[in-house]
């Protein structure tokens, strides 16, 4: 997986904090932007998180370029609707000799890995043969495996990201999207540490778990349901 945070709203924490202050202040936005000291910004953001007042987090947006992920992952990813996506098209981009993902559980099992790779080779051959027989690549792609690599640009605001991290950083999330979510979280934490200080599954952000008997047990001894 190759992940890069390619753009984001400049000064995201100041933008969020100023917007929150505006709601409860007679002062204007411009004045607030210039006069709020950094410590006040941090404290206000912490308080917003604690109270669950996250609407102002929407003013900060983050755009990622992601490569080397499977369509298993992206089919889950694009279900998050408060987000924007631009994905490499299998309809318009030829997939001869495509790259593909190997799940760790397959990579760790020599016999499984051999069968897996043999099949992928077969898929590549058949894709090429179909195209050679005059089948347009938009139809030849029906044989492509879920494992086929894809590229995608994703933009989410900080509130939507917090929700994404809550669902997808959880141990119960599918491993590939969990890896992506953790990598995205590391990227945004580097540029907006206070906004994402408590980001993660509910066991991290809220100290509770709703997975019932499917829980990973990280909170053993603590109540398992909010």
């Amino acid at each position: 997986m190759k992940l890069k945070l390619i753009q984001y709203t400049p000064d995201p924490e100041r933008t969020v904090a100023m917007s929150a202050r505006l709601c409860y202040s007679a002062s204007g936005a411009e004045e607030l932007v210039q006069t709020m000291p950094d410590t006040q910004i941090g404290n206000l953001i912490d308080k917003l998180v604690d109270m669950g007042h996250l609407s102002t987090f929407e003013h900060a947006s983050f755009t990622f370029a992601i490569e080397g992920i499977s369509r298993v992952l992206t089919h889950q990813l694009v279900r998050h609707r408060i987000a924007s996506y631009s994905q490499q098209s299998q309809r318009y981009v030829a997939e001869h000799g495509f790259e593909y993902i190997v799940p760790p559980s397959v990579a760790a099992n020599a016999e499984a890995k051999a069968k897996y790779e043999a099949l992928i080779q077969q898929v590549q051959n058949t894709y090429d043969e179909l195209v050679a027989l005059g089948v347009h690549q938009e139809d030849a792609r029906y044989v492509l495996a879920n494992a086929t690599e894809t590229k995608i640009v994703v933009t989410m605001n900080a509130r939507s990201l917090l929700h994404f991290f809550e669902k997808r950083c959880c141990h119960r999330a599918q491993w590939e999207i969990r890896n992506l979510a953790n990598a995205m979280l590391a990227e945004v934490k580097a540029v907006a540490p206070r906004l994402f200080a408590k980001a993660g599954p509910t066991c991290v952000s809220g100290g509770y778990c709703t997975e019932g008997n499917l829980s990973c047990g990280r909170l053993a001894g603590i109540k398992m349901q909010k």
Copy 2:
């Protein structure tokens, strides 16, 4: 493909028309619901469509159950974000001997069809072998083809459907999702003919085409851009 309109807002056209009337009337909703004659409803809906005032179309929702479609289709479908989806999970549902879609261009080419089906058979075998080797089905599914059949429940309101039909009933849309869009349009037209009277690609709904030199040419002789 198996498509069924399983639920929808009762009396969708009256609901839409009443909501539109409310905006410009001193009367209340309940009174309007009871007193608007059918002809007034039809005429008002036609006028809303002509003026592009579609916000009231959101009050009517339609829920479809769809089976026998590929994941090529659903990966495009779920990109429509003003909608609700519940899809059969490849993580939790075993895919031994799965059904699959064959594109018409492949079905029409005997040699391509033979190669296509041989590969799918190979995929099924490998999936079974991986599971037999202890690979969890959530990882074995990485070998599954785009062609694999899936099931999905979709809810969209009438405004979102109009947008969906504009994009996906177009001759330029990918054939499988175009077939689905046309089938969905037929279903909703049967229960709400006035709401969807002009539904379809922009050449149908507005008499123009934005596809440039990729246009299907249906509007040849007419301006190709709005």
Copy 3:
């Protein structure tokens, strides 16, 4: 306030439960709709609520006609974005002798009430005078009070409603929108009791409170933060 649930997705609980089952079942939607017994539906819905798996709740929509509420209320209401609104226009509907809301705290204070009503009378007079002087009603309305009554049609799906009830049934919500939220909750509970069994502020739905030292104290002795 006059509230009426004018339309909703028929059989909302069966629709939600069937959609949830589809995700984890090899069976199709139509079969599930017909064969799921009522007790299974209720139990499944309870489990979805407990696990916070609410996406299938989106397949059930509810449309309300609401009258006799102020624009203080609707300005807050329309901030809920996963919803559809059609509101009576002050631009197109004349407001001569408009009805208005009196807050209970004003109604309970004779002196305040007298001043309040005198001012409203003054507003009505000035509105009429401005119109008589040739000011279009779209500009005359600038003098209208927040208290002026309005009418609105609102559609939300069950998931969005649960969020609305969480925020607006809370004791900390503004009284008028809280009254509306409680009335809406009563309406939907009557037709879909299981979907909304635990609906309400977080102290009801989850046993926690995030209002900190502004909390109403209903959960006194219990932890004040999730």
Copy 4:
């Protein structure tokens, strides 16, 4: 009105163009960001606009601080749901001696203006008296006029802005929100001229009008409906 574009996605046009190229290219995002020449970016954006392929415009977000506008305006503004808002609260911020908007049609009519200002003075007095009588400001605000000034922070992405400009820059839009829309358009055009080159009502962006016999007539002699 006081308007300031306080933040936006850096290099918005390159971000949009790169995302669009990614969909149809075997290259990755990072490579595309670095290697696309400026002229290619401009040409690609023009083509996206012409074809109505606007999804990549969502990757560029713009945040405005707006002051000196009425609640007539903001009640319309917040109906645009693909946007984020933080508005000064009349519940928490005292409105003693509030500022207010005077519509031009009122300002131009001496008699109307005198009545208008007398009423506003009356509203201010009554607000103060109610608070002095112990009415909480969250209830005293029920007497405040639509004309009362408010402050708001708004974030929209470029696609949502194009829709906003289409509806609100139209001559048929209410004058105050039209003024705001025109001012916002000028701000974003200064930093992203190609993205917003054709932004505006449909007579500007598409050469057609759907307002029927309510049209301003700017397109007289040209077809009045797409």
